[in-house]
Symmetry: C2
Subunit: 197 residues, 2 copies
DNA sequence: GGACTTGCTGTATCCGGTCCAAGAATGCAG
DNA sequence: CTGCATTCTTGGACCGGATACAGCAAGTCC
């Protein structure tokens, strides 16, 4: 939230600068056709420095969204109800690199990579949400199913929002619509727990 | 389904042989500590031949399950209802390499790899099921949510089954329980489609 | 000026995965 | 028996992502 600490050598670049260079190259050469060396060369830093800013190549596209996810998980741990915490993901989400990647997936040559990363986020959402849902209901299997529904709702809403051009206002409503669908699911499943325990 | 074609040089090894060698090494050195060269050396074939039997290292664990998934998808395309097609995944599923990997995840050093692969299968299930569900309801977002619930049900059931020791009989019941939870979800969501179209 | 902390860089290394050309082992047609 | 088509094996080259590390640069604080 605050600015960086003051100690030590200041950073010579920034995640934004590197991400910008990367996205340019993705448009020009495609995602697979762009090596990390290409990115850092254009950004004016050494290849090894790339990993000071991103953990992996794909993080260039996902780091912003991942930060929102992490915030939502923190809120959940702090006691915020699941649906409320997830709804905040859509608050003030300006079109970022992920939205850019979704809308221009073809032009950037993001064939399966985007799907692979989306799959990881779906699983991450499922895991974290299920952790909180299991405490409430006690049925682990139902919690996993319900959590996956929530995760799919979040990602589905983001995708639809991006594909419509990331018009800034509609994500929040889209997300709430999706989450309401998921919540209705939970209301119907409070019986039949101990059948197979 | 039938035997192999008769033409050309016969195979010098088999997926089973290679998978066996691989699993041994995973127990001895861990998944990450075992290179593909290690596996092929123990199996008595050249490194390049590994990719004649598996597309990737992780396929050693997942190829059996993937075949069942593919069969289920084929059935869905042929018109079998979603829940019925998915229920067949549990039919006669003898403990295979995947079950072995789940139960011995720690001993094999399968830290995140198993989760990553599971995430991909969850997304695959979601995609294929949603493809069939969208035709029926027309609401793409709800279809994605519902499809993810189905996928999570399948994987959750398989995981519980494996963690209980893969006792051969209980998977089918577990799966049907999970799928019934998912189906109840679908019954409640037939309104509220055109609100945001 | 020094100690300390942080970041940059070049390099070496590892491994998964792809590609390819040459050769080996089979069935089959003549 | 002789080619021929087919299929698989093998070794090697190659690429790119990711990790590790050692040495240096650039700041802050005392």
């Amino acid at each position: 939230m605050t600015d960086a600490p003051r100690l030590g050598r200041p950073r010579a670049s920034s995640p934004e600068t590197i991400a910008e260079a990367a996205c340019e190259l993705f448009f020009e050469q495609g995602y697979d056709g762009t090596s990390i060396g290409d990115i850092t060369r254009r950004a004016g830093v050494a290849r090894a420095s790339f990993f000071n800013y991103f953990r992996a190549k794909s993080d260039v596209l996902w780091s912003g969204f991942d930060a929102r996810l992490a915030a939502a998980f923190s809120a959940m741990i702090a006691g915020v109800p699941v649906a409320d915490a997830l709804a905040r993901i859509g608050r003030d989400l300006t079109p970022d690199t992920l939205a850019l990647a979704i809308t221009n997936a073809d032009a950037m040559g993001l064939g399966d990579e985007l799907e692979r990363q989306r799959a990881e986020r779906l699983a991450l959402l499922q895991r974290e949400i299920a952790r909180r849902l299991t405490d409430a209901t006690g049925d682990a299997l139902f919690a996993q199913i319900h959590a996956a529904a929530y995760g799919a709702g979040v990602l589905g809403a983001v995708w639809m929002w991006a594909e419509r051009g990331a018009s800034s206002e509609s994500l929040e409503g889209l997300l709430q619509h999706a989450l309401s669908l998921c919540e209705r699911f939970g209301a119907s499943g409070d019986s039949s727990a101990a059948a197979l325990a």
